[in-house]
Assembly symmetry: C2
Homo-oligomer: 141 residues x 2
DNA sequence: ATGTATGCAAAACATTTGCACCTGG
DNA sequence: CCAGGTGCAAATGTTTTGCATACAT
């Protein structure tokens, strides 16, 4: 029984919340938009409204289960929190997203914040570039 | 005559573009939304439509005159490019924005991107925290 | 039972676009 | 004069909300 995570987060265990959590856990894609999830639900013939998807994702975020990111296309994407913090690098051509952690960067962020008199609470670091892997459109040039 | 910047950017010198550039240069606020600029124009009794503000800002961005940022509220803010690159730290309580540059962070970003096989083109680093300065609401606690 | 969650449709919001008119060079 | 710029209104795309109904505990 996997409703544990939900109950532990103080959320009533309902079918929409279970299904959405399931999709987030279904590892094939780590960063999904509300619309992505909604489409996935339709494919599985689940009768769940888009509004509910947004509501549930917002609750999950408040409960610390997921993180909301704003990549530069403006549309929000959500990612299941698997404990470890990490930053992102996004390919401008194929939209592939890789994750990384660099303790040097993390440390210096804290130092910089202190120097400016801030008590740091969070940060968002996104690198943009070209990955030029097989399958990436930038390869064609 | 200040239309020089515009003409140099390959843009026809028109009244809306001049007025908007003027507001961006009017140093009191460095990060403004399209709506902010529109309101400022209304206060000055300029008859410029919101659509034009968006169009002009997009052109300015394409011309490299301004940079568009997505802070975490989702609404885009624009900032005049004064040459030097910098990152941002935003106070979660009073929304004050400070700028900083840390060459250590910059260097490691390049290193990380290379390690992951990316040719880095740009990045967005935003720290979030509490500044606890006089006038900052977090002070009241 | 009862308070909360959901679905649907409509609202709200930021941003973009179509089109007739105006303006800068 | 004429290509390009602008205002207005309407369209778009994403996210939120109101409300009557359905569900978990």
């Amino acid at each position: 029984m996997e409703g544990k995570d939900l109950r532990k987060a103080g959320l009533k265990v309902t079918l929409p919340r279970l299904k959405i959590l399931e999709i987030l856990e279904g590892g094939n894609v780590r960063h999904v938009s509300a619309e992505d999830i909604y489409k996935r639900l339709l494919e599985t013939n689940e009768d769940i409204g888009l509004a509910t998807v947004y509501r549930v994702l917002t609750q999950f975020e408040a409960a610390g289960l997921v993180t909301r990111h704003h990549f530069e296309d403006g549309m929000a994407v959500f990612e299941l929190n698997h404990g470890t913090h990490h930053d992102h690098i996004v390919c401008l051509d194929c939209n592939r997203v890789e994750e990384f952690v660099d303790s040097g960067i993390e440390d210096r962020q804290t130092t910089v914040a202190e120097r400016l008199g801030f008590e740091i609470r969070d940060h968002s670091l996104i690198l943009y570039g070209r990955c030029r892997r097989p399958g990436c459109p930038s390869r064609k040039s």
